[in-house]
């Protein structure tokens, strides 16, 4: 039996990073990919940032956040018993993690700082406080931190990283560079000793103007923050290098989740180019929330309308759905050029899968299992 493209991908990559804009069903899909891997016998874990409460519950989290991996294998075993289809092999493991980005950033600082006094003073710095909470890029970077530490344990065959919601799909890729910019050595050192004799007149003047603009209290905090950055930079830059090396390795594949609308194409193209520019491996597209694969039988619609009012309502709904299906077809053709020139690791064709829109929200692990089985079945058409 031919295995689906998604099953092949799970065999090829140890780490699958799912990217995409909001509302495309990325988080549900990431959880389902991890379940699919577990059903195929893998020791799988999904890292997901801030999922909807119900999804969190269906993954077995009672609290909002779980920084340690939660073992959901027993729940999955139970759900499989009640499911109509059997797993193709023996069940692997299923874990899930929802990192607390606030807490983990502080943990990271504690690890990087040469001594605890410095870590303490950094955490009390009001600039750092804002930084840890709101620096765009901090959440993204912390997800990568969690990824690398899980990878290093060697306890997992498959790690699915659901990228956090960002300004746009690219923000995630750019997060490490954004942070690296903060540590540009030549520049931080100017902040380290405000009375530094080596200060040029230009810098003194600039800092004088800055002080006028911001008031004096701020400058004290800024110098303290600069000093702390200076002290943690060596370890941090080494970590950053590890993250980049891992992401560029053959172990990691990036997939892009999208809705089936042709307007998405410029952004998708931008993303594909950017993944390649970073030296990462682009593994293909998952077109989610599609309606085109569903049967549309005239007589079924007709018999559903019991009164003329009902028939009218149904007519309106059908017209809308048919318009959506027609537009999906336009986008399928338009999506294909995005994949040109990309090959998968095993030499197989690039992932290009359509997945159905769900009729209702996900409430339980059983629901996710349905999606996971759909992932194993999908694959009729191959990419270009």
């Amino acid at each position: 039996m031919n295995s689906s493209q998604i099953d092949q991908l799970i065999q090829e990559r140890r780490i699958i990073v799912t990217c995409g804009t909001g509302g495309v069903g990325k988080t549900t899909l990431s959880a389902s990919l991890a379940i699919r891997a577990a059903v195929l016998g893998k020791r799988a874990v999904v890292i997901t940032i801030d999922p909807a409460k119900r999804l969190a519950t269906s993954l077995g989290f009672d609290k909002r956040v779980g920084d340690a991996p939660a073992d959901i294998t027993p729940h999955l075993q139970e759900a499989l018993k009640n499911h109509s289809e059997a797993a193709p092999g023996s069940l692997g493991k299923l874990h899930a993690i929802m990192p607390d980005t606030q807490g983990s950033f502080e943990k990271l600082v504690a690890q990087l700082a040469p001594n605890s006094a410095l870590a303490q003073s950094l955490m009390q710095n009001p600039i750092f406080e804002i930084f840890a909470r709101e620096f765009s890029g901090a959440n993204e970077y912390m997800a990568l931190e969690r990824l690398i530490s899980l990878h290093n344990t060697g306890e997992y065959d498959t790690i699915i990283l659901d990228t956090p919601p960002s300004r746009n799909t690219l923000a995630f890729l750019d997060a490490p560079q954004l942070l690296a910019r903060l540590f540009e050595e030549k520049l931080i050192q100017w902040l380290v000793v405000p009375t530094n004799q080596l200060f040029s007149i230009g810098i003194k003047k600039a800092l004088g103007i800055l002080e006028k603009l911001t008031g004096s209290g701020f400058m004290t905090h800024l110098f303290a923050f600069g000093q702390a950055l200076f002290d943690v930079r060596i370890k941090f830059l080494a970590r950053l290098k590890d993250v980049t090396t891992l992401l560029q390795s053959q172990d990691v594949g990036f997939i892009l989740v999208t809705a089936s609308v042709p307007e998405a194409i410029p952004e998708l193209q931008h993303f594909v180019d950017s993944v390649k520019d970073h030296g990462f491996h682009f593994d293909g597209l998952l077109i989610n929330r599609t309606l085109g694969g569903l049967a549309d039988d005239q007589s079924e619609w007709r018999s559903a309308g019991k009164s003329s009012e009902q028939a009218k309502q149904l007519g309106r709904a059908r017209q809308l759905l048919q318009a959506l299906v027609e537009r999906e077809k336009v986008s399928y053709d338009a999506f294909k050029p995005l994949l040109e020139g990309s090959r998968r690791l095993g030499g197989g064709s690039i992932l290009y899968e359509k997945l159905p829109e769900l009729a209702r929200d996900i409430h339980s692990l059983e629901d996710l299992l349905y999606v996971a089985f759909a992932l194993g079945r999908s694959s009729g058409e191959s990419g270009p």
């Binding site: 509302g23 709101e134 300004r167 746009n168 559903a304 009902q310 309502q313 309106r316 209702r360």
Partner: protein, 291 residues
Amino acid sequence: MSFQSVFEKNLIFINGKGGVGKTLLARAVSHHLASQGFKTLNAVFEDPLREPGELIQPDPSLPKLWSFNCEAHSAFEEYIQQKIPLPHVSRLFLKNKLIRYLSKAAPGIHELVLLGKIWFERTHYDRIVVDMPSTGYGLTMFQSVVNFGKLFQSGPIHKDAELMLETLRDPKQTGHLLVTLPEEMPIREAIDLQGYLQKLFPENHSQFVVNKKFPHLETLTRQEDSLWKNPVPKSLLDYALKKSHTEAEHLQLLRERGKNFQEIPYIPPTLHNAPENLVRDLASYLKEGTS
């Protein structure tokens, strides 16, 4: 509360989760207001597919409509030039490597500068319709104003941050729309977001808009459990019936909390030029609804 009351404000923020249709709704609102004769700016933040700082008139039939891709780097330079009126001093300041580094790398500056630019433009237009980034990052932008008001205890930036906050909090000048879909996750996120905005702007209530409301169908009940077991739909009809049914349940989440909301129907997309056509259709829907 209706759309009309929000459309009377000078600054209109379109907030919500990713994928709920903020961008097209912001364009439609701008289109509508410009067609009513208001000089209108439709502002987006750092759209990577457009030129940074690009200011265009997107529709030749609407001479009062402007579209702006707000970008932090040029906004920062502009701000400094205002605060340091001596050109040679501000030029040296901006050219200084350390300042350039700080303006790029310091957390929150980016967000403050972007929002500050919109705030500054408010006197140049009758209406500014802002397509906000999705929930988390959008909140960060508003929060940056509060943070910098606190972080800088004196000086002109402190003062400007205070003034900005005053504008954002003033229900006479600023309106906040919360866009959601009639789906569970976006509704819950919108309710949470309203709570956060309420804390930031206690006197200025944001208003819910439910976008893409599916046609109402009255033919299915929850009674037949077996029909609901599999979340993957069996047919287009099965999907339609369940969609209509679950939407009604989800809107109950708003109703039972006493949240009023405006509905926008799901407008069927056209095969080609769907965004442009949708903006036009939405704008005429808004016009009918408010006339």
